[in-house]
């Protein structure tokens, strides 16, 4: 019987040659990740377990990216606990201070996640690494503590669903629009307990950054992982970064899928997700008049250099609407530096944007752009739940970096074609 890419990666990380959907398996973990919100609980659980040393310190990655630079005393105390632990255990992959980037932008960039890996992260957007052909999934802090103790995790082997994107992309459409369209189609629990396997000529045409955006939001359909098989572009991205061997897996032709869907990109306009679920999507032509108070460009979804180039391309020579705060957060120090070298930072500042540090910032209502009651934001982030970016009476709309930049100029959710020639 044929196996999917997800089943093959899971099997390769167990003693078994074959796994079946529904099996509960014990898997070896290549990377175990946590951040400043989830690591403190994992460290507490690890310490309570009484084991002196980590099973393999090289597999543990801590990134202090959520409430940093520390936004208040309580978050400073949480970070200090993680910092002390990381230093005591001589963690090589500990990112703090000027080394911090938004974790799911940072790990691929640093070559810490590779094709064929099995990655667990105490952060739901760990599924981002599926775009590298890895099996990567979000877990809780206790799972992470268990992996710190044993370098293993328990997994229920999920069924896979296949999604094929055909045709050519319409102007201003990127990975964010494709994945919002998919989530709008199947709903926020349409992929529950399952793997989204995403492919097709339109996906092959995307660069790695746009593919990472797609896998990033698999969780927004409830999925366990969102996997795109590795190809030449993946290899070109991974090879110069990899410091250990890796394996490329592909699904068998006779692999079994729980569902199959095909989309024609000729029908996919830039998408906007309305409050308060990522599945409340509308094409930009059907958005209507929505005035906004804030635009956020950044996050693990759309904070990479390719995203900043798209936004800056629209903001060049334009002025951001006086009533809009436009917050730009380059996702990693390397992205920030690259944006500076390419003159993008200058474009953003001249347009009237605010540049912040690499941080998750306002995405989850932490800091660097919190909304007041009644305010509306358009963000390139991944969630628009009630209260996600501030007051429970505020609203978040989601889009890609092109619509976000255009809307910052007009002050209302707008198609990029309105502000470009």
């Amino acid at each position: 019987m044929g196996m999917t890419i997800a089943e093959k990666i899971l099997a390769a990380h167990t003693d078994a040659h074959e796994v079946m959907p529904g099996d509960i398996v014990k898997v070896n973990v290549d990377v175990a990740l946590a951040n400043d919100i989830t690591a403190p609980l994992a460290i507490k659980a690890f310490k309570a377990g009484g084991q002196a040393k980590l099973a393999d310190p090289d597999r543990v990655v801590f990134v202090l990216d959520h409430f940093t630079p520390n936004k208040d005393i309580a978050s400073a105390n949480q970070c200090k606990m993680v910092r002390d632990f990381a230093h005591n255990h001589e963690l090589k992959n500990f990112f703090d201070g000027g080394d911090v980037g938004v974790e799911h932008a940072l790990l691929p960039e640093k070559g810490l996640v590779l094709p064929g890996d099995l990655v667990i992260g105490a952060d739901s957007h760990t599924c981002t690494y599926g775009a590298l052909g890895a099996f990567a999934t979000g877990v809780g802090s206790t799972d992470l503590a268990a992996a710190m103790m044993t370098a293993q995790a328990w997994m229920k082997v999920p069924e896979s669903m296949k999604f094929v994107f055909k045709g050519e992309l319409l102007p201003w459409v990127g990975g964010k629009d494709l994945i919002l369209y998919l989530i709008g189609d199947i709903g926020v629990d349409g992929g529950l307990y399952r793997v989204l396997e995403i492919e097709g000529p339109a996906v092959t045409s995307l660069d790695l950054s746009n593919r990472l955006t797609m896998s990033n939001m698999a969780i927004e359909a409830g999925a366990k992982a969102g996997i795109i098989k590795a190809d030449d572009k993946t290899m070109a991205y991974v090879k110069p970064r990899a410091k250990r061997p890796y394996t490329v897996f592909e699904s068998d032709a006779d692999a079994r899928y729980a569902a199959f869907r095909e989309y024609d990109c000729a029908n996919i306009e830039p998408q906007v997700a309305f409050p308060h679920l990522p599945a409340n999507t509308r094409p930009i032509s059907e958005v209507g008049e929505v005035r906004i108070d804030q635009v956020v460009i950044g996050s693990c979804t759309n904070g990479r250099i390719e995203d900043l180039r798209v936004s800056a391309g629209i903001l060049k020579g334009q002025k951001i609407d006086k009533r809009v705060r436009c917050v730009v957060l380059p996702a990693t120090p390397e992205v920030f530096l690259q944006a500076e070298e390419e003159g993008l930072i200058r474009i953003f500042l001249q347009a009237g944007a605010i540049i912040g540090p690499p941080s998750c910032g306002p995405c989850l209502g932490g800091h660097l752009g919190i909304l007041a009651k009644g305010e509306k934001a358009l963000a390139t982030t991944n969630r628009n739940f009630v209260g996600r970016m501030g007051d429970p009476g505020s609203e978040v709309y989601l889009s890609g970096p092109a619509v976000a930049a255009a809307s910052a100029v007009t002050g209302r959710i707008s198609s990029p074609s309105e502000v470009t020639e």
């Binding site: 509960i24 014990k26 919100i37 989830t38 403190p40 609980l41 507490k44 659980a45 309570a48 377990g49 009484g50 959520h66 409430f67 936004k71 208040d72 309580a74 978050s75 949480q78 992260g121 105490a122 952060d123 739901s124 760990t126 979000g138 877990v139 809780g140 802090s141 206790t142 799972d143 503590a145 268990a146 103790m149 044993t150 293993q152 995790a153 328990w154 229920k156 926020v188 629990d189 529950l192 307990y193 969780i219 409830g222 366990k224 679920l277 989850l364 209502g365 932490g366 969630r383 739940f385 009630v386 209260g387 996600r388 501030g390 429970p392």
Partner: protein, 164 residues
Amino acid sequence: MNIRGRVFRFGDDIDTDAIIPARYLNTSDPEELKKHCMEDADPAFPSKVSRGDIIVAGKNFGCGSSREHAPIAIKASGVSCVIASSFARIFFRNSFNMGLPIFESDEASAEIKEGDIVEVEASTGLITDISTGKQYRSRPIPQFMQELIADGGLMEHILKRGGI
């Protein structure tokens, strides 16, 4: 072990930001977290809930973030179990890892009303609505996950058995 309590009802797709908003995640102290449990879905919940009460919700309960602060906040506020039509997967596994009893039943989720008194037989997943007399069977739990519950959670399981 039998669970018995008064029901608080919530709808579909209750996300982890509704269960415990991220603005309170600068601490992991259960006593602090419980003050804000379910706040963005029902601001009065923290003051209304009492020990033993039961949450009954629709589909996809706990969607969104991986934060274990969500089951911690629910447990700390005294809630004895959550019954839903389905659970988001990270919340699902976190609950077993942390020892928060959860049960899946479409019928129980659809029919049990706010304020009903409900009893759940934890070992069999048999749900009884004492207020209406109706009974519901929850979806069976895989053997391994029953072991996790019996051992008292994932860490206790590892300590007892020397590994996962």
